[in-house]
Symmetry: C2
Subunit: 350 residues, 2 copies
């Protein structure tokens, strides 16, 4: 159904400058996408880590209480730490988690949706105690002439969802914390349904529950309520580990089409799709039984964190859906499919 672009991956760490001379870019991935004044804009997650390396140590960058970039040093052989996941270390005694890189969000623009120029500096940088470990995974939703961007804010206070808005991608207004910890993978609908704005979100209920997709409504995009469970993973198979929002839903003749992500117990991330009625985004009409897109290309199966395809945004050009996705938590790639082909696939019960 999807065709990978021959120039994939479109944005790589090597193609982007570090924001500081003493840091290197190790990931450019998980980008929100929109069309603005004829250009394709991506809000790219840029993950950086200090150039300083030592085979015996892991350095975890974060913004300290003084607002300064700080390094937490962890010995690789320290028995108090679990260091097997390249993305993070866990401190057993306190159960605290620290990230091995610090992410910010950068603007990349393109006239053809394929060749992107990425800015050298952050578009959205860490700006509060709730973002001390970074800002990640921006999603863009246009509502009338305003673009709303939700993102993941990570800190010692937990994993929360932050919100900003812009009309021109130059002036950015911060809108505070949209969902308190632990909640991420939020996708906002582009228009009201039954008089209220709608989003899907992904609470993380800890040991009491699974990682599933929920829905909420809002009168103003700031205050959210009426929380309902929408989509759960299955006990076995490709979505047994977690399930959450991908790109913001798009309106089609067949209903709201959502592309979401799921992972299995081995952290293999794939994409699925579902359709809901126009007037009820909490009811699943059709849902993909198997992934509609999964890691197959070399840049998807290997990389910083291999076997990951993960989308935060797409655009629709004519009848074609252009899916921008993070590959292996390292690069941004593009795959295209006719919108109708995805709908037909779902309606056929696949």
């Amino acid at each position: 159904m999807f065709t990978r672009h021959p120039l994939n991956p479109l944005i790589t760490p090597a193609s982007v400058r570090a924001s500081r001379p003493d840091y290197e870019v190790i990931g450019t991935f998980n980008a929100g996408a929109t069309i603005y004044k004829g250009e394709t804009l991506l809000l790219v997650r840029v993950a950086e880590r200090p150039l300083k390396t030592d085979p015996d140590w892991i350095f975890c960058p974060y913004i300290g209480a003084d607002g300064e970039l700080t390094l937490r040093s962890v010995r690789r052989d320290d028995p108090d730490y679990d260091t097997h996941d390249p993305r993070l270390v866990k401190h057993h005694p306190t159960k605290a988690v620290y990230l091995t890189s610090l992410s910010h969000v950068r603007l990349a623009r393109s006239t053809d949706g394929v060749h992107f120029t990425t800015a050298d500096q952050p578009w959205l940088n860490t700006d509060s105690p709730f973002e001390a470990y970074g800002v990640e995974d921006a999603r863009i939703t246009r509502v009338d002439d305003m673009y709303w961007i939700n993102y993941t804010a990570v800190s010692s206070h937990g994993i929360a969802t932050g919100l900003v808005s812009t009309r021109d991608f130059v002036t950015v207004e911060r809108r505070g914390i949209m969902f308190p910890p632990s909640n991420r993978d939020v996708v906002i609908f582009p228009q009201k349904v039954n008089g209220l704005y709608v989003c899907y979100h992904r609470p993380m209920p800890g040991e009491f529950g699974q990682l599933s997709m929920w829905m909420a409504t809002s009168p103003d995009l700031i205050h959210w309520g009426n929380h309902q469970l929408v989509l759960e993973g299955n006990a076995d198979g490709w979505d047994s580990g977690r399930i959450g929002g991908g790109a913001p839903p798009i309106l089609t003749d067949a209903g709201w089409l959502s592309i979401y992500h799921a992972a299995d117990q081995n952290n293999r991330y794939c994409l699925g799709a579902f359709l809901t009625p126009h007037d009820d985004p909490s009811t699943i009409l059709y849902r993909s039984k198997t992934p509609i897109f999964e890691p197959e290309a070399s840049y998807e199966t290997s990389g910083f964190f291999g076997n990951v395809v993960f989308t935060c945004g797409l655009t629709v050009q004519g009848d074609m859906l252009r899916l921008y996705y993070g590959a292996s938590d390292e690069t941004i790639a593009l795959a295209e499919a006719p919108v109708q082909a995805i709908i037909d696939h779902l309606k056929a019960g696949n």
Copy 2:
């Protein structure tokens, strides 16, 4: 500062009938409180477990997918389970948690605030998949002529906060899930501040963060946003384990007075207090350095889960604050203090 009532505990499991013949009441605790038509009303958490016992087995009651009361049987010596906490068992392979009792909420009424008559049947019973493991810890806030009751909804989907409203404590309107998992210990303010309703809530950020008190605002008590961190525990001492809302805040000349709970690493639960300005409930003016109330009486230090005092509600009669609190997760007790004495205590820097 507080004087325990000589008739404590006021409500005990022995004084209340089980809602079913094959169950026994093991806890009557954590009650929301209000004055309605001259009577003191408590919404009491009633915890029940099956009469069926077996020294080798633990039976965990829950509402099954078919809506029927069901028992999950766990062998005490099953190495897959952690059974040391009397309140719950943990299944190591799946990390799932099951409760050893099923709670509902019952109405108790009193003309003097001391002698209570507790109804024989639930006032609020489990009513959705989100309440399959019970409804707990109701808090009552009167806003104009409506009483809003938030409560903890526990299920395999996580620990969430539910909301209902009533004008007469007879007809109850369900208002859905106020905060998705994991979030509990919500207290709603009785009036708007700066044009918006306000609550404190307690997200549970898992291994990424601590259990702290947050604030949110709402235009309508249904949709909540503008989440801010308000109060954190200290690394050592009585509030090092967790911290969360207690009774809904009360308006005093000195500002909003909040009685909250905190526990240390040993799960010893005490109560603290803080004051905020009338126009800014996110700013702490004064905060108790040490507990204002802690487990000392025998019914507070021993019981189903000893060393716990925990409040969900209070009333103010003249100048006196009447604090209703759960003791040892088993009984309801009453302690009284002049409101001014608490304020003086806080202002003196204690």
